[in-house]
């Protein structure tokens, strides 16, 4: 009974996963090395390498040079969340997108924002607030600070026709980003513009981005109550 030749990295991956789910290879156990697997599957080592590398990236396997590859004991599965512009998020739900600027001012951000942007000193920034609508109903609020030091050209853009969300993505590249998800009671600002009662529980996504030159922007997106962030995990 010879294996029916597994020769694509996908099928190698499938077979490896099957053996893990099978418990042929139990959590914590070492699996054969790449050369042996390549021989068994009658394929190149490169192919096995790619299959295993991806599984290691997704946290199912743990690999170390010389020691070999083992099945992760407590797999840290990586849930992937697609972060995209709010317009696309709304359009993907089949709704009509609407946008309204609330205000645009130059101001000194609160400490929390300065801290999140990793700045030692507070400095004047552009503060833009806007609401994103789905079929005319408030879908999410955008509360954004833009560094005028890193992005001076933002001062002259009015953000009436196009949201800062999209304008920045199209015009200002970034190197590094962080993302943080949390829940808080609705602030007065959120109560007003999301049209929700006091004490409603709101899901927030905070995102900060940087360029070589320094911080680009810090934004909080506050969603309508009941909003879910959904991800399907790999493997």
């Amino acid at each position: 009974m010879t294996t029916p030749a597994i020769n694509s990295w996908q099928s190698v991956q499938d077979e490896v996963l099957r053996r893990i789910h099978n418990r042929t290879w139990k959590p914590g156990a070492q699996i054969p090395n790449e050369t042996d697997l390549a021989k068994e599957f009658k394929c190149g080592r490169t192919t096995v390498n790619r299959a295993l590398r991806e599984l290691a990236e997704s946290g199912i396997l743990e690999r170390k040079r010389k020691s070999g590859t083992r099945v992760a004991l407590h797999p840290v599965s990586r849930a992937v969340i697609a972060v995209q512009i709010v317009r696309r998020e709304i359009e993907d739900r089949g709704a009509n997108y609407g946008y309204a600027l609330i205000d645009k001012t130059v101001d000194t951000p609160p400490h929390a924002v300065t801290f999140a942007m990793e700045l030692a000193q507070a400095e004047e920034m552009l503060h833009v607030r806007a609401v994103h609508l789905a079929d005319g109903v408030p879908y999410a609020l955008e509360d954004r600070w833009i560094s005028l030091r890193t992005v001076p050209q933002a001062r002259d853009f009015d953000f009436v026709r196009q949201s800062a969300n999209e304008w920045l993505l199209e015009n200002v590249p970034y190197n590094r980003a962080t993302l943080s998800i949390l829940a808080t009671p609705a602030s007065p600002f959120e109560q007003e513009y999301l049209a929700v009662p006091e004490q409603t529980s709101i899901l927030h996504v905070e995102r900060a981005t940087w360029q070589d030159l320094g911080p680009v922007t810090f934004v909080t997106i506050s969603y309508q109550p009941g909003h879910r962030i959904i991800s399907s995990t790999t493997s």
Copy 2:
């Protein structure tokens, strides 16, 4: 002025990213094909391919056969969240882990749970509730339903010493998982066991897993107010 030979896939990736940040290659614009880049960088096409493939996976580039590769116009950046057992989450924060079972019953789950587990018919399941403590203080609540059809052996495990969270990971493999993040006001159950006042805003992570045989488990983890889920995005 010849380029000083870029010959690792990492350095190719860096150079490509530099050109994107540079705006040498603007959002939406097409970039040279792999063969030409390989020639320019004096490396193999395989190397360029790997560099570009990873950038496409992370959403910075968009690739299509025959059409070529272009810089994404609205990059859907993928934020990766590490989902691991609560004990590790607590220990990683440098706190002492504690665990207490609240109750373990056999019951019919509410519709929402049956639906999330993609079952047409409600069926009896094991319902396990527990609290995870960090330095003796409630850190998160676990409210879990386990399919007795898929995991019959769960009926006889007592979950007093080891949480269902860990027991399942070590003993029951899964194929597919979904993850959903949402915010709600604290339920009476959460008020009691997380020791928080009424109307507190609670961050929930819901997770369902499946095996070939059927659904394995559906769990809601409710975090202490102020909890954040943090991710750093790639690139």
